[in-house]
């Protein structure tokens, strides 16, 4: 939560002074949202491990990677961009 808030609050400054591209502010905020979702993943992963569901965890990891990879592959094949899939 603190990371998310800090990222959102500092996105303006980071985009201007660190990345030196004000347009990247929205991308920092978007990535912060992904991190926020990932916090839920952390607890869920722990619950799976405590319950001994390692195979499920491995399958979910794999599905996540395949989904992300497939998404990027589609964007690549359709010559998409940062904000446009096709």
């Amino acid at each position: 939560m603190f990371a998310y808030l800090l990222l959102v609050l500092s996105s303006q400054l980071a985009s201007v002074y660190i990345i030196k591209d004000p347009l990247t502010r929205s991308w920092i905020n978007f990535y912060a949202l992904a991190l926020l979702v990932n916090l839920m993943t952390e607890t869920s992963t722990a619950v799976l491990q405590v319950g001994g569901h390692y195979r499920s965890q491995a399958l979910l990891n794999l599905c996540q990677s395949v989904l992300t990879g497939g998404w990027i592959l589609i964007v690549f094949l359709t010559h998409g961009g940062f904000t446009r899939c096709w």
Partner: protein, 232 residues
């Protein structure tokens, strides 16, 4: 050195479980049990060398002031109270050293045939259910992570081709900045859940295990409900 149930300290030189077979309940008594031979340390080393078929590397140092020059067990009290007599010679005791620890019966065969070592390792693995479980679960995660790493490498390559050097560098900076902040303020709640709820589950206290899991989960559900309007 072994500790008997009655509280007696046993100076066991010929380390064999057979030494304590003669124990019987006599209340709390300090009783010496030991062999009936008096040998010096060089003889003992010689026996072990013979047992393991390997020469010891001996470094002679000045004698420690606290070392006893002679040490042997007076077993008169054991004879009187327990009717105990030493039956295992030093030679026999050293020979049976490998029997003390399960799975260590190959003691004294450091140069065992690789096939027999592998067979023993295989047998140990087949008999140890916990080891099987750890291996299997590690295999699942390792396979998943391995495939994911390959996919990540490929998608990074595709993204670089797609975006070009300038945009890819910007993407890298965005991800690096956000990840750094995240690492800085990460409280590793998953580890808390594993440590404490795992302990409670092992004790069969499911309610308390659930109580450990619920607060982080609830907090995160609440966070996910935060307005996403901050984006942009």
């Amino acid at each position: 050195m072994g500790m008997a149930r009655s509280g007696a300290v046993l100076p066991i030189w010929t380390t064999s479980p057979r030494h304590i077979l003669g124990l019987k309940p006599v209340g709390y008594e300090v009783i010496n049990l030991g062999g009936h031979e008096v040998i010096d340390i060089n003889q003992l080393i010689g026996m072990i060398e013979k047992r393991v078929e390997n020469a010891a590397r001996i470094e002679y140092l000045p004698r420690h002031p606290a070392d006893a020059s002679v040490n042997f067990a007076n077993v008169d009290k054991a004879r009187r109270l327990l009717g105990w007599e030493p039956r295992v010679s030093m030679e026999e005791g050293v020979s049976s050293l490998g029997e003390l620890v399960p799975g260590r019966t190959q003691l004294g065969q450091p140069g065992g045939h690789p096939v027999s070592v592998l067979r023993k390792a295989w047998q140990t693995w087949r008999q140890d259910r916990l080891l099987q479980l750890v291996t299997r679960n590690s295999g699942y995660l390792f396979s998943s992570n391995g495939i994911s790493s390959v996919i990540t490498a490929v998608q990074g390559f595709l993204a670089a081709l797609l975006l070009g050097p300038a945009d890819f560098a910007v993407l890298g900076m965005v991800i690096t900045y956000a990840s750094s902040i995240n690492r800085l303020l990460s409280f590793r709640m998953g580890e808390l859940v594993i440590k404490y709820s795992g302990q409670y589950l092992a004790l069969g206290r499911k309610d308390q295990a659930a109580a450990v899991i619920k607060p982080p989960g609830s907090a995160r559900r609440l966070l996910l409900c935060l307005p996403t309007c901050c984006w942009c």
